[in-house]
Amino acid sequence: MTDEIVIKAEGLTKKFGNFTATDHVTFEVRKGEIFGFLGANGAGKTTAMRMLCGLSQPSDGTATVAGYDVATEYEQVKRHIGYMSQKFSLYDDLTVEENLVLFGGIYSMPRKKVRDKITELLQELGFEAERKTMVKSLPLGWKQKLAFSLAIFHEPSIVFLDEPTGGVDPVTRRQFWELIYRAADNGITVFVTTHYMDEAEYCDRVSIMVDGRIDALGSPAQLKRQFHGNSMYDVFYALARTAKRGD
């Protein structure tokens, strides 16, 4: 991790009519950091994340992602980030290789580079034998790992992961986090949402949203001290209980 700031949100706000989904949110994320973005359902995480990915315009405040303004330079933002959600980001009826070639093409990567990276990636994942396998016939855990690799295939500076481990078995879930660690070690900033509180412990820092605001921000150890909890579950519970708006 370095001191370079790659995400900077200042008073970031989104209103839908008279409902303030994201309410003046301010935070920074450093390069190579694993940043956990937590909150109850309906706390405003998805709305905030959509703004940071350049998919939704802020009603107020500003945010820069990878140095680009999300309100004016959103196309540049999209080029410099990766995104993966629990709902698949892979094409089921393409092979593993075809998916990778397609994504490389979408991000205008040189063909030679795409070819080299595919070989390297499949080796790293131990997927060489599955190069020509249709994605739909892969086990779920493999798909998840592949989807993550695809999200960082174009070497983005930041990857957004929206509940990436939902529904996977406990071993695969942990292997997935080892991929996250490796990406962070390589300087990729990881912005991740999860409902698994043990995973909150794996983050360098965690923010917790309540009713559209960020009500807590710090390392898991700091937050546990601050909220007198033994675990991140205690911290989460103490904060989420104070929510006024129904989810």
């Binding site: 909150g39 109850a40 359902n41 309906g42 629990q86 086990p139 779920l140 855990g141 509940e163 939902g166 529904g167 996977v168 078995d169 406990p170 071993v171 695969t172 942990r174 986090w177 080892e178 660690y181 070690d185 409902h195 698994y196 509180m197 043990d198 412990e201 794996y202 898991p220 675990s231 991140m232 579950y233 989460f236 519970y237 989420a240 209980r241 129904g246 989810d247």
Partner: protein, 306 residues
Amino acid sequence: MVMAIVSVENLKMSYGKGRVQALKGVSFDVGEGEIFGLIGPDGAGKTSLFRVLTTLLLADSGTAVVDGMDVVKDYKKIRQHIGYMPGRFSLYQDLTVEENLSFFATVFNTTIEENYHLVEDIYRQIEPFKKRKAGKLSGGMKQKLALSCALIHAPHVLFLDEPTTGVDPVSRKEFWEMLQKLKKNFKLSIVVSTPYMDEAVQCDRIAFIQEGQLLTIDTPENIIRAYTRTLWAVRSDKMHRLLTDLRGITGVNTAFAFGENHHATVDSSVLTIESLREQLVVIGHHNIVIEAVKPTTEDCFMNLQK
């Protein structure tokens, strides 16, 4: 043993002319008034099993009896006596909250008034929004409406397919409290599936399911008691490196991240807590904490998984 309200015998089921085996011979009983949890990852066969038990799919072989009726022969009768909440939100999005509930009551020849006592606790929480279209509800409210609709005809058995998936920890806890109340107040039998291992302790008995097979069936306490490995929680100032380092140490069988600690299963004839500590110090770890811990249900699942 209480009477079995669900009885499943060697159920097999496949898709695509036998290419995908979703259930590979599943057998279990659910006692009357019991909360029975099917715990396993996506693709384990949970939904297929639910669909067979709710008479929506035919198994290839094996038998299943629900509330004294055969799922094949008595499929029409069974449907009167079970409530089913599918994994995907399956209510009518363009009907209001109230219209949905009233629709499900009518389909089963009853009225909201007649069985209001059953849903009261849950429905009251969404009643202020009863004129809102179901499609416009938040996730938590949809879940409460779906549960109300599954209950409104006073079923004997409730089948809930992953009701808490994608739900935050606080709302999950609230949902389980609703289920515990239903069990206590109405002696309802509940079969519920979940990918969250920590929810196992909410069930009277659980079955771990993976790749179409049950790995074990028992009470959560007994499953934890049956765990025979030596399990240590380990942490140091370099958690990520510690994981790799642990795996390289002789006597450590497995090492996985578990929240703020790593859990290592070890061969205690090779390694003691002190000898592990010494080895970790030598390779540069500081602030080392190692302690023997009781396994969680997740440790048990991971142990049975291989």
